[in-house]
């Protein structure tokens, strides 16, 4: 009985596992982005494996706004520095903010400076159900439970970051 069960499971496994992302799909799961082209106060949107990411060049005012927030009052408390990744020399680059472009509510893509609406807190606004994110991509208002996630990325040079899923 156990042998037959094991045999059935062994045969069934390939038929289930084929549903998983294929090798070529997995191979396309990272990309390098040249952020020097992002205008000050603007952002670019990158699709990696079909997932959207925002790379935003923040102004000094936006950085200050992100830092002046009382973190303890946030729904998903995180300081602005916790949402940045260090460069090769170990320092942070607060001008460049990299976040996921998927609203943590139901997965819509929030609108930002290029679409003309940044929401009540200067960051992003999700038009689907009205979530407002601040200039650090943190949830401030609306139904979304969490901040826009920070993807796994590294600075490969002074102007290039590599984002991986």
């Amino acid at each position: 009985m156990a042998v037959a069960g094991g045999g059935v499971a062994a045969v069934a496994w390939p038929f289930i596992q084929q549903l998983a992302p294929a090798a070529d799909t997995r191979a396309l799961s990272s990309a390098e982005v040249d952020f020097s082209k992002v205008p000050l106060g603007g952002e670019i949107r990158v699709l990696i494996g079909g997932m959207p990411f925002f790379v935003r060049h923040r102004t000094d005012v936006e950085i200050q706004e992100a830092r002046n927030v009382d973190v303890a009052r946030l729904r998903d408390p995180q300081t602005d520095d916790e949402r940045l990744k260090p460069k090769a020399d170990g320092t942070l680059n607060p001008a460049i903010l990299v976040t996921s472009g998927t609203c943590t509510h139901l997965g819509c893509v929030p609108v930002g400076p290029a679409q003309g609406t940044v929401g009540d807190f200067g960051g992003w606004y999700c038009p689907c159900h009205g979530s407002h994110y601040d200039t650090s991509g943190r949830i401030r208002k609306g139904p979304a439970p969490l901040n826009l996630p920070i993807p796994n990325y590294t600075y490969t040079s002074d102007t290039i970051i590599k984002i991986a899923l």
């Binding site: 992302p21 294929a22 494996g49 159900h129 439970p145």
Partner: protein, 484 residues
């Protein structure tokens, strides 16, 4: 009413065949099955649904000959079907409209079953098989809606797969296996196409079981009174109900054709005429009309209960609203099948139908939009006070609001916005969702015990006689072979 078979092969070849594969006998037995003679037009929707399934399969197979399941080509291939393929406009329109017609008919069929107690013993299995068919229909329709690869296709499917991701523990894995990648893409489109082609045939198989089931138990009927005398209470399905069904199908096809030829896009969504763009979400994501009530239930849950977050609760409520149908035969404690004889249940049923339709409207509207306003819009100045709390104050006019805003220090970050106060769609969806569950979980079990039903007719034959105003035949006369 599977009695002894009345089929008698007459020719040599049919006798030969009958001894080997009694397929003609099967067909004859089904077509001549004794059927209660009091079925009304609500009973014709079974036949209408069979026609819908055949229509969708035939048009679907044709569309699959021209459709290309690839994120680069899918949208263009559907446009090509509509513009370039000979009669493609017709076949595509029948298929797209057909999905809506299928659901329209299935909802009438289900409400029929709820009203006349078609789910009660001995037809529990027939009912459950029907629920399985309905679930399969929803899965098929959902995957079919993704195939044209429009904006609503893409973002609607993103919302639904994200819901599955909200299930604890297994959710994210199931979601990845469903999508075949980190996001909805080529892999997703291809597997949805494959399953969209497969599921209708699975539905056809379950439909066969569904029909087999009620041929075993016999059809229900509007009185809910079981057949007592096959000769007095029933007529053969053919020609009595083939003709009645055919007439109903004709009327249904007129409605169907009106949509196909005059309003082919009326039941769809304008955003789906834009090719899918993962970087741009439509402002207002809604499913097709037939899924709107469940979408409303999903969005009605905006509060956490204990450790369960609102998002997961919404998913549970949405699936629960369908799951509850499966156990309905055991929730309804009433001995009386037909609500014709249940005066109180009848009224609550009408409310249930209205609630279901109302939920559809709730699903189509943004939960935070207002159904009606309590007062004229005013202006609100929102600011941060010295202790760091968010505050807001309401003003009638712009000048006062502006004055107050200017009186605050710059660190308060005061902003003026419109303050509307009114009745939110969300509250209606919450009230109607509550009634939906109340109907099944409280009203059905309790009413069956406390309600005093009206007297039922002694038999189907008697109920028909009463209706037609004829006196019962005197016992001296032999019982009439045919219905009056």
């Amino acid at each position: 009413m599977s009695g002894p078979s009345t089929y008698e092969p007459k020719m040599g070849i049919t006798k030969w065949l009958d001894a080997r594969l009694p397929i003609v006998r099967l067909g004859a037995d089904v077509m001549l099955a004794p059927t209660p003679k009091n079925l009304n037009y609500w009973w014709t929707f079974g036949g209408i649904l069979a026609l819908c399934l055949v229509t969708q399969i035939v048009t679907g197979i044709i569309l699959a000959m021209h459709y290309v399941a690839s994120t680069d080509a899918a949208f263009a291939s559907v446009e090509r079907i509509r513009r370039d393929v000979d009669y493609g406009w017709l076949i595509q329109s029948i298929h797209a409209t057909g999905a809506s017609m299928f659901f329209l008919a299935v909802y009438v069929h289900m409400f029929r079953g709820l009203y006349y107690g078609s789910y009660k013993a001995p037809r529990e299995i027939v009912w459950i098989l029907g629920c399985v068919i309905y679930l399969l229909m929803m899965a098929t329709a959902f995957m079919g809606y993704v195939l044209p690869w429009g904006q609503m296709s893409f973002h609607g499917s993103a919302v639904i797969t994200n819901l599955i991701g909200a299930i604890p523990l297994v959710g994210p894995t199931v979601k990845t296996y469903l999508m075949g990648g980190p996001a909805i893409g080529d892999a997703t489109l291809n597997r949805f196409f494959s399953l969209h082609y497969l599921l209708p045939f699975v539905i056809a198989g379950v439909v066969a079981l569904h029909i087999w089931g009620f041929h075993q138990t016999g059809n229900g009927n509007p009185t809910g009174v079981s057949v007592k005398d096959v000769k007095k209470d029933t007529v053969p399905f053919h020609p009595y109900y083939t003709v009645k069904d055919a007439f109903a199908i004709l009327l249904f096809l007129i409605l169907f054709a009106a949509f196909v030829f005059y309003f082919p896009n009326a039941l769809g969504h304008a955003d789906n005429s834009i090719e899918a763009n993962p970087l741009q979400t439509p402002a207002h994501i809604v499913p097709e009309w037939y899924l709107l009530p469940f979408y409303a239930i999903l969005r009605a849950i905006t509060f956490d209960i204990g450790p369960i977050p609102a998002k997961l609760l919404g998913v549970i409520a949405m699936f629960g609203s369908i799951g509850i149908l499966f156990v309905l035969p055991w929730l309804d404690r009433s001995k009386v099948r037909s609500m014709r004889y249940r005066p109180f249940a009848q009224q609550l049923f009408v409310l249930f139908v209205l609630a279901s339709i109302g939920l559809g409207f709730c699903g189509a509207n943004n939960p935070d939009d207002l159904l009606f306003k309590f007062r004229e819009d005013k202006l609100a100045v929102s600011y941060t006070d010295t202790t760091g709390d968010a505050q807001s104050r309401i003003f009638d006019g712009f000048d006062e609001a502006r004055q107050f805003q200017n009186s605050l220090p710059a660190t308060a970050g005061a902003s003026i916005e419109i303050s509307a106060s009114g009745f939110k769609w969300l509250w209606i969806s919450q009230a109607l969702s509550a009634y939906y569950f109340l109907y099944f979980l409280v009203i059905m079990p309790v009413l069956g015990v406390i309600e005093k039903p009206k007297p039922r007719p002694a038999s189907i034959a008697e109920s028909v006689r009463k209706k037609s105003g004829k006196t019962p035949p005197t016992p001296v006369n032999a019982a009439p072979q045919h219905a009056e």
